[in-house]
Symmetry: D2
Subunit: 414 residues, 4 copies
């Protein structure tokens, strides 16, 4: 074990995603046997005082205030980008050019153009052995991975239906302030790109099929909101949005912040909710809904697939479970089986606890970096790739165009 | 009680719906105190032997083989139409003209034109005290009625989202025969008109808001199916489809029938699945899905509403329950409450059993005829009216036009 | 069909159980093909005005005020006893002596001595072709019947555990009046005999094994309660308790009645809650709990069985479902399957509606009389027999003795 | 942050519990602001090679092969005992005598005598500022902590009923080998002390009331089992049982190990299942069941409390949820509310992720050490104390005596 090579990681951003990724990098060698030993080398943010505190709190051995400096460090092998979407392209392109492996949070970028440039750069870098992946972490929830396995093994037969929702409720209050996630110039889009992107990726991953066309409807229910107390800091650059606080519900995750001040308001420039119908390449019909106005749904990602031989349901609020309907069972004992995805034979589970012991949200990141580290060590291309991230961006783009064009049927570009 | 006036009922059709209605007519006075005593006067069907057997089995004191004869009988005050949609208009128009009250199964008709003629006739008849209603029985499930009460009382606040699915799986097997419900000339449409109509009505009823526009997608997954063994009998008229057997799964409910014979096949001329997005008149976004290919879903009608103050979920497979999220509760104890809708204070419940004792599917019909009989006695217009049935038909029509027109946004006609 | 023999039924009592039985007798021939046609001949109660009203309301063609008169009528073939337990023995013994078939509500009697006399009389009567059964109706809920089928087919393997609760909450309020169900001289016992009897019978039925010994704990949490406003009528005889109102929550089911008057109180002489551990004859361990103080549980009967090959859960509040764990399934897809017991292959279901259409509480009675009528027609002994009822009484007796004797292990007498 | 004092931790044992505790010690400062910085100083086990590997794998900076050496180290402030129960007393007494704080896994000991000695030693040590706690980690699951808060705030009113089960199924297979958890000399008891102890502690914690008396039933269904392949290593000392492998399902957690070899078998000397009824000091009735033969239940800990004002349900398989019935809500909207215990206002949650993001099993340990570290820093007595551990042991003892004595009612000693 002593001769194991180290993998130096530099993380840009230290808010919600930064805290989650830190826990993953810190834990991965403690549970999984990997040929590389992760070194939490440096965390990066613009504010000297805050990034110093974040490094201590999150357990990084050094910090930087300029991500370009991070890229120049020899002890950094991989750059983990946990900033808002507006800065993904610039950092990722530079990191790949510097020969660093890249893990980039989702969505890959805020525009198709940026995403395409990133995918092309990633492909070039791959030829030189530089790896890249986009952080659609929900693929690595064991129940979701196992759902993919069941589909790939033919247990669903011919797929007929996919229905996916991702429902939250943190914008129901009209006094909730105009956080960075509500501003197009930083976030790219609203519910669509933030949580809609997750269900697009997850359903394509589980089904093994891509969305080929859509008709869509989007809405902004509350168009003016109070400016957050500290909004000035946000306006200059998205990067600051990633470093306000290290954990949880704070303003830094773009969901929080102090209530408005003095009656000043600003315009919401992204969607509150986005719905679309779709066709998958194998002929299935699909429906998608992403909303931040679904009162009572906190993290309500729910995916159902119906095939000719079986059906599946995954619900993020009960992420240790998978419902499976096995069409081969006789009619009298058939039904949706609540599978506890905590058996040693389930994906990733043999590294953890005995049967029936629940994992949490953060384990998806541990599994994500486990797979990425293994791919780097093996010299194989990790997934989801930047090309996969681009493809999700193309679906988001088609949704936007359909919604803007009277919901007309819109093909997803290649 | 002895001086109570009788209400003579004549029912046309005696298959699945006929059996359900018979139980309702037979039971309603046994549980509810009503000013009229129902008389199961006559059941009508074309086949002499079968209708004779049906009368005995279902408890009707006489039978007819010609519905026009039924309309001429003085002891018939109300005609209950339980035939396929293709015959609704002709029978209903004649019954209203004959001064009979009419209860007509849903959907009201197979076309907007028929439905409009029926609604106009119903309005004229109402002026003469002749009553009519369309059989959207799910409104009368206590949990659904109570959901409406909660919305009407403002407990949901401003409505933001409606999502409704009605999922079944009886067509998954490609060898399932070409029953009458798969033939446009009899059934009008497929999943859309059969079960989609239910969720359109139910969501409009609960929300108190109408659908104003849609974008839609429909599909027929299996386009050729074996002809049913006895298909000849079906081809002449839809009426015969309503009288093959009195109960359950038989061919008569249009879902069953013997497997195909000798390789002869026919073309499915209706949709297997229909999905659409919609806007409601109050500004909410909605999504709808009706399918007969959702493996594992037997009678999977599920409706969710999210408002600014509360949310609701109703699931037909658990029809004695309603999930309610009360936004006024503090964050720490808020959540979806599983309300057992079996309290004496819930709609219809004081007529039945102590708290916690479940009702079934058929009770929705007993409540439907209870309300209709009460309205007839009171001289008030029953609901849902033929005008309500027409409005659902207009939504179905808009869905069909959008699906045929590249999913473009399509307004629902007035 | 016209030559079918009639079966004249006379029912004693017309409260909660009377209303439920009436619906069953009225419906059974409408859904099931039986060689006998039920005739709702007469209902019997002491109060002339009330029984007259009950006959009209519940659909009986005549009435009697003296159950002995009922027994003398030639048009009565079967006596259905729906009175409190204190009168069961007298009526049943007389009815059997008069050559009438008997259906007796549970518990069979209030004491072992009465129950033993009844079982012996039933055995003698059977020799003369006179049939008798005790009304443990929950056996006839399709999911419970099917649970029995699965156990009998060996799908659970060797049984290890049974756990059963029947939880209600209608006594939580200390101001709830002293209804007849709280008085030992009428009801025999409290939660134990009323609802505990149900779970004893149901678990023995499903498991196919009898309880051989118990250790028990009982409690009366609230020992003084207000006298009901109309309590005088109750004190003379239990019979009047069965005829105060025909439906639901009224005083007549022993759960309701007006709140106390003028501060007068009486002593509760039965248990509010009874818990016991048990061994079954096949070696399984079991636990039982019956309570009327379990706030939030309205009709919370829940039974779980664990065997070496499978497990089962039945919950009365979701009576159309059965959870089944199939131990033969591989670890990765095993789990509790929510079986919708609404398929035509499930017990009783082919008489009703298509898959996924829920039945209710009252259908258990329809199935109960269906099986009884079929047994009478076939000349076979119906179940559960009076001997089965006696055996449940012996378990109740052992529970009472254990609770009174320091919870010591107590064998159930043969 | 730099001046924060360190807390040196030395952990004895490195199997299932050792892996869980390691993750907790490693994570606690990364999420919680605490006045002490945890130092994973040393892990201890008898086998030099294995403990070396464990230290590297689990992230401890040194290792020891003799726990007495660990106690002599100045850089160790706290000893964390993760060995089987048979060694708890010796190590804990020595650690306290050496002035080390102690965290001891549950059950506190294998006998009342040992536990009493430990509680007395802990009380003496406390006078000198040396802290001790027993590892009933389930108290620190946020939903369980919040359940305690609701009860303490009076939201349940007068408690009437407690029912608790802890069901597993890993012994169903009779070929499962004779692991150390099945041997009385190492484990003390079977299901009773291993998982029964958890529900005793958890229900007493949530209810705030102690068990005062019990009647009990225990059983060993399979009395002979194959010897595990490596059983020799187990026989010498329980300590080796804690160091066979670092994670999961391996033999080291006492649940696994290779299948038997060559037909050699041994006698199971502990209970497979234990059931008991109980009274709590406030007058509530309770039932408990612990079993390793409940097929389909993997980690099926479920606790329900019913009071006069509210009810609660907690289920470990859905540990992010709490069901709460609020008796103050009107009858029509009352019901069990599924509370997602993931709000910032819930215990421990503000340190983690946004609402709706699930935690897992291991977080209970992180919270456990958070509270312990905070108590050490504050100089306050941590809970659950060794006295609490002794009291659980006294309940286990009463259960054993009742089961051995014909289930007679047995008072729990003070």
């Amino acid at each position: 074990m002593t001769e194991r090579q180290r993998l130096g990681v530099g993380m840009v951003g230290y808010a919600f995603m930064g805290a989650a990724h830190s826990q993953a990098w810190r834990s991965v060698n403690r549970f999984f046997d990997l040929p590389l030993e992760v070194d939490l080398a440096a965390v990066c943010g613009r504010d000297q005082a805050k990034v110093t505190a974040a490094a201590a709190k999150l357990g990084w051995r050094s910090h930087e205030t300029d991500w370009k400096a991070l890229l120049r460090r020899d002890d950094i092998d991989l750059v983990d980008i946990c900033t808002p979407g507006s800065s993904h392209a610039e950092i990722a392109l530079a990191a790949l050019a510097a020969g660093k492996h890249v893990l980039c949070e989702k969505p890959l970028a805020n525009t198709v153009e940026e995403a395409r440039a990133m995918a092309e750069a990633a492909e070039r870098a791959a030829a030189a052995g530089v790896r890249s992946a986009v952080g659609f972490n929900y693929r690595r929830i064991p129940a979701a991975s196992y759902a993919r396995d069941l589909v790939a093994a033919g247990r669903l037969g011919t797929l007929r239906h996919v229905r996916a929702v991702y429902l939250q409720d943190w914008l129901v209050d009209p006094e909730f302030p105009l956080a960075w996630r509500l501003r197009r110039e930083i976030a790219g889009s609203g519910a669509l790109g933030d949580i809609g992107a997750h269900i697009i990726d997850l359903t394509q991953f589980i089904s093994g099929q891509r969305v080929t066309g859509v008709c869509a409807l989007t809405e902004t229910f509350v168009r003016e909101r109070p400016l957050p107390a500290a909004v000035a800091g946000l306006s200059a650059t998205g990067l600051s949005a990633s470093g306000l606080s290290a954990t949880g519900q704070g303003g830094a995750n773009g969901q929080g912040g102090a209530k408005g001040r003095g009656g000043a308001t600003g315009t919401v420039t992204v969607d509150d909710a986005a719905l679309f119908l779709a066709r998958l390449e194998g002929g299935a019909l699909a429906s998608y809904e992403a909303s931040r106005f679904a009162l009572g749904r906190k993290n309500g990602l729910r995916v159902e697939l119906n095939g000719s031989e079986g059906s599946l349901v995954f619900d993020l609020e009960r992420l240790n479970e998978l419902e499976f309907y096995d069409g081969r069972v006789d009619d009298e004992t058939a039904g949706f089986t609540r599978v506890l995805v905590t058996e040693p034979g389930h994906p990733y589970l043999d590294a953890w606890w005995p049967p029936g012991h629940a994992l949490g949200y953060e384990h998806s990141f541990t599994h994500e970096v486990r797979d990425l580290v293994a791919a780097i060590a093996d010299g194989t291309p990790p997934t989801p790739s930047f090309a996969d991230g681009l493809q999700v961006q193309l679906v988001l783009d088609a949704v936007g165009r359909s919604a803007a064009g009277g919901s007309r049927w819109t093909h997803v570009e290649d």
